[in-house]
Symmetry: C2
Subunit: 891 residues, 2 copies
Amino acid sequence: MTKWVYKFGDGKAEGRASDRNLLGGKGANLAEMSSIGIPVPPGFTISTEVCTYYYANNKSFPNDLKEQVEEGIKHCESIVGRKFADPANPLLFSVRSGARISMPGMMDTVLNLGLNDETVKGLAKASGDERFAYDSYRRFLQMYSDVVLGVKHENFEHVLTAAKEAKGYKSDTDMNVDDLKALIVEYKKIGEKFGKPVPQDPIEQLWGGIGAVFMSWMVDRAIYYRKLNDIPEDWGTAVNVQTMVFGNAGDDSATGVCFSRDPSTGKNAFYGEFLIKAQGEDVVAGIRTPQQISKEGKKERGSTLPCMEEAMPDLYKQLCDIREKLEKHYHDMQDMEFTIQNGKLYMLQTRNGKRTAAAAVKMAVDMVNEGLIDKKTALLRVEPKQLDDLLHPTLDPKAKKEAIKDGRLLTQALNASPGAAVGQVVFSADDAEKWAAAGKKVVLVRVETSPEDIHGMHSSQGILTARGGMTSHAAVVARGMGTPAVCGASDVKVDYAAKTMNIKGVTVKEGDVITLDGTTGEVINGAIALKDAELTGDFGLFMGWADEVRKLKVRTNADTPRDAAKAMEFGAQGIGLCRTEHMFFDPMRIKHMREMILAETEEARRAALAKLLPYQREDFKELYVALQGQPVNIRLLDPPLHEFLPQNEADQAEIARELGISVDAVKARVNQLHEANPMLGLRGCRLGITYPEITEMQAQAIFEAAVEATKVLGKQVEPEIMVPLIDTKKELDLVKASIDKMAALVMDKAGKFPYHVGTMIEMPRAALTADKVAETAEYFSFGTNDLTQTTLGMSRDDAGAFLPDYVAKGIFAKDPFKSIDEEGVGQLVEMAAEKGRKTRPNIKLGICGEHGGDPATIDFCHRVGLTYVSCSPFRVPIARLAAAQAAVRNA
Amino acid sequence: MTKWVYKFGDGKAEGRASDRNLLGGKGANLAEMSSIGIPVPPGFTISTEVCTYYYANNKSFPNDLKEQVEEGIKHCESIVGRKFADPANPLLFSVRSGARISMPGMMDTVLNLGLNDETVKGLAKASGDERFAYDSYRRFLQMYSDVVLGVKHENFEHVLTAAKEAKGYKSDTDMNVDDLKALIVEYKKIGEKFGKPVPQDPIEQLWGGIGAVFMSWMVDRAIYYRKLNDIPEDWGTAVNVQTMVFGNAGDDSATGVCFSRDPSTGKNAFYGEFLIKAQGEDVVAGIRTPQQISKEGKKERGSTLPCMEEAMPDLYKQLCDIREKLEKHYHDMQDMEFTIQNGKLYMLQTRNGKRTAAAAVKMAVDMVNEGLIDKKTALLRVEPKQLDDLLHPTLDPKAKKEAIKDGRLLTQALNASPGAAVGQVVFSADDAEKWAAAGKKVVLVRVETSPEDIHGMHSSQGILTARGGMTSHAAVVARGMGTPAVCGASDVKVDYAAKTMNIKGVTVKEGDVITLDGTTGEVINGAIALKDAELTGDFGLFMGWADEVRKLKVRTNADTPRDAAKAMEFGAQGIGLCRTEHMFFDPMRIKHMREMILAETEEARRAALAKLLPYQREDFKELYVALQGQPVNIRLLDPPLHEFLPQNEADQAEIARELGISVDAVKARVNQLHEANPMLGLRGCRLGITYPEITEMQAQAIFEAAVEATKVLGKQVEPEIMVPLIDTKKELDLVKASIDKMAALVMDKAGKFPYHVGTMIEMPRAALTADKVAETAEYFSFGTNDLTQTTLGMSRDDAGAFLPDYVAKGIFAKDPFKSIDEEGVGQLVEMAAEKGRKTRPNIKLGICGEHGGDPATIDFCHRVGLTYVSCSPFRVPIARLAAAQAAVRNA
């Protein structure tokens, strides 16, 4: 018999924390907590294997599941001493999902399961609180209808609002028992109206709840979240059935969420929020503004409500002990949920807490210093992509001070997710997505957010909500995304219909620009200048550890001294790709470039190239000087020539006038250079083979620049010249002959100097014949952008029409232009690396596509033994950490 | 000491026929003939290794060459009993090139070497013919100046013409000794004028001649011929130095060229031409119209001049004996050169003769029947590409008869190269090339052709010359190219300046259309309808032998019943590629196709597709019926959708009107579908994944057609459905799901039937992951067009800008779009074949790119073990033979 159900409670458990894949994160941790003596309401977990079975078998359950669930129920009954479905004193259950990895807000939950017209009376009697019982019943009916039966909760909210209005009530809490009983009658009518009444039989309720959890694994928002976070669909979810405890059982009851360290800053301080007389979802839903756990938190967040340390000092102490016990047990910051029922504390969940990048770095460093973890573990604690948050600008304090002085501060609320954002206001997730797609920077303003808003949050520079605390949906998701957010700004009055918001009398319309400071919670009217991040302190220490363990060097893709300097600041170890084409677009240069392209003889081309030479030489010299002797890998001209010619008639006429040739001649050349598939046309080394004089000019400029820079720096500059788009060794030989010729020419005047000629491996044929190419090439740089385009036969410019659909359908697990397609493109890279090393054992191997900054690709590069990765400047720290993680993971 | 020089003569030789690589074809055969007792003037061959040395060592000779050449001279002197440079009775030499493979007209020759102001007197005395001696000296001066010293022969012709005019002579033969002596003085002045006098020292003359042969290996026309014929540059040429014999020594002297069988028809009859009192080059240069060798030839060619059999019966008999001896010795048809000096016969050369396709087939079949060769040897005797000549149309006899009746026959001359041609007249090779490049069909008309005209001959449909015989340059080259030619049409008076020709009073201008019948020698004014070739008799027998030995099946690429029928007639074993896109361009269909593309909902798309379904079903049914149960591999829609939409405004407006939508909507969709690199865009299986309804319609049409065709034929049709542009197994799974769904649907009504789903392997990724793709694909078809484009990153549409240069520079040995790039693309094909077989041992593997009809590629396909090749209908016999040759060669 397969074991489908795992019981826990009363200091024991059938599962463990390491059973995450089987029991989901929540179930595994409930089992673990129960085992180590943390007070946990008893329950049982239906494993993820049931979910897999469910979807593999046309949404049906295994035969022996029923029996095991019944055992689970008996297990809870025996510990609690009450019986499920007992009309006299019913045991109630919560039913929750629990996937392998926490997916906040993604999965549905049903509470108070087991209530019906009979058991509600028993609950009333047993609790001595009839209002509590009927309110619980009402909540159950609404939640069950929504989550299990698909009758949208708006239907119920509408009736509730009407009932309150009829009586003149302001809040739900104004409703008395009779009101609630009348409401329950109305609620039942809704169920009947939709043909979906809530079953009275508690067992039927339970199976409905279990099925709803499994079904919710495949709802759109869950699929979207998984896609966003690279979570495979076949992992499935577990179902946790747990004895209900009530944070709303009376004034000696409460419910809360807490973090063993501050998830926003990483500070080693107990931080959390709770609500007295409230049920679980009330805290995270942001309906009531929660109270702080600790005095310190209360002070820091400027809360005026009594904190738990003040209101329930004994329970606070118990919670502090649990905090310590759990963090030591898990060696990581814990995100915990608790409920206090009639003065007794229960832990409902613990998990490794999500955290901001800054917090992740600080915690990693602190925990190493505290001896809680070692450095290698610390390195794995920060998601490389998160580092991005630390690198991006904050508000210029001076500019902000002035803005505030000018009265532009609209309000200050919760600093829910750090960083600064400037953008145009939009009021819906759909608009955010649309405007962003049109190239606009937007700030999404919502009363509160829900999982349906994720796509819009993802498209926004920043998020502002009128309701909700630090653990509200908006705050949690924004931190996860690294998007700045200010939450719970109760001064903000949103009018969705008018697409405006009013903040203390100031009206901000859709499209108006505002600035958010997610680090302080400030909301400012208009734009404020941004300031670059600083990379010292814990960050510097942490990155130092990364540099100690990584095997891959990290270079940067940069064509300007400015970009190069930024990358060096971020820790780049040279330039892996300097594209020379961007240097030709300056107005003075483009003229000569066009003259060269329009020339009809080699002589005329050489004359135009001679005018470009001094510019190129100066460009390269500046780069060499900026790099201070670190290597600079310069790629010869790559794009097709038509990219340099104007396509419209007016510009063509102007060029014709400037160059003193006929407009028809210009047009003819533009037409002649037109290509059906420019990606596969006359570009790369094909240019240098067709027009060797272009290569000669560039090589001369590089060598002369290196000679000059060597003098300036007082150390030897060793040029690296990279030939693009090679298919065959012979092409490389031909281009290298031009390069060698110019080297000899420059050496005649300036004396000998070292230099290196390498090639891009970006065509499948070059990869397939890399053993031969390596006879000439001193180094390879994998141009995985073009290699992906050719290997997949997929133009990056055109793939937008089908690639998102391809990723959605699982044809590619990830966008192959962002993260290397290991199975296909990766196979070629590995093959070429092996063949290259066979010919030239010490061949230098790099990667310089977009992929060079992608952590998964960097892990691959480490595994196939590349020498370095090269990425855009802002990706350099990400690459350094990813390289370190690859070294730790693959040790 | 390296042996550089190989002597022959007097019934002995240091080399053999098998030394072709070392001695060149001519040298090896001279040695062989000498060894077997054929009368050959003594001589020696300087090996091809000297040529290699010469180019590797800055155009210098090995040190020990001089000594060996001197030995060679002594060898000749001792046999002939005369001395080189002896003023009393000089021995003279011819110096000729001789490469491994015969390159007619490409290499230069110097005759009469050893003559100077003194030796000419000795020659006069010894021969008793002063005129002969001075004429030989004159010829030598002109030839040596032209070939060795680079003083163009026009300079001498000019003086010669002036001298003749001054005396009122019509022909060279009118010149007497004094005229010739005076001419020699003038010739010497020309040499002095250019600073390049002919050396008087015979030894210096000899070394100059040897150097000139080696230099001529690298002249443009030789390079062009090698490129055209895939001859590697590093083979080099040998130099043959041979004792001169004189066909112009008197009326008992002659020179001629003969073939052991008729090179035009293949008939086993002795055929050749000769000229009495003439030197070697006179026959092939076409200056005098030659006489026939045999009575039979005289009759057949309608010659009125006495033939050799009549004029020199004894010598004719000797020649007949030699013909028989040589053909039996070489087991192949021989192309021989001979000279008769004062009644003594000498053989100057023998080689396997070039022949027309028809002759090649007939000889191969006859020689097998005669027991001279076996079938496998016979199969290697026909160049597969030559077969093309037999497949192409001849003139419709009825139409020709009427044309002649209408007085349109302009003239009849030598049937120099068979086949019919219709085209516009041009009068220069350059014009032929230009006009052909502009898409025109041209007939090149020349007085005579020379090696400089080859590029133009290659561009022409047919060739007409006013002078020259069956062995003239024009005739030999045209037969080699398979281009119809009529030669020696002395009625044709060409006026190059006016760009006209006059034929018996009729003036034909440049651009006028004429028709040539190369099989009969007729020239007809205007165009005549062409008729298809017949494929029976020897051809059928020969192809039957090919079918017996080949391992590869041959299918065809065809989309219409007409093409399919043609291919079946040519021996195709099914359709390897049926492209479905061409079926949508019919006016009625394109309308529905556009409606489908412009539809904004799946519903609307399905409605339009429903209209296309009956057409597709009918198309497929007709194909199935035409194929009579042979397999038909149908590829699903492949091209990007924008190919079906009009790009110009007028057509867009018309569509808008037809479909009742706005012009802007049409334009918007056209713009939306525009792609930067359509080759790499939304096409192939990507269409079927984005719009599964397209796949569904096509699958339904295929299955319903198969069901209907099965009924019509009374045998089971098994559809093969091929999915294009696969990168991953998952894509194939998704498209196959659509296909399977429609199969089930059709089976519901029509009962079960077998069908097969396969895929194109045309993306590198598919090849790299072929083991996985084969889990789903029942067969692969290598789409080597696209596989070449992606593997090389080279768009066939755009490569014209650089690929010819790439081939010229040796980056690719051949155009990789014509003959597979074995090292790169071939590596992927081999890898995919292996991986595919690993997963599915009996997987069917085919190739369906342009390469499927290329003999070199077919050899490759045989070696990697493909199941079949598929090519255009007219290539089917070529592929059958190439497959047989591959089987023989790789046995």
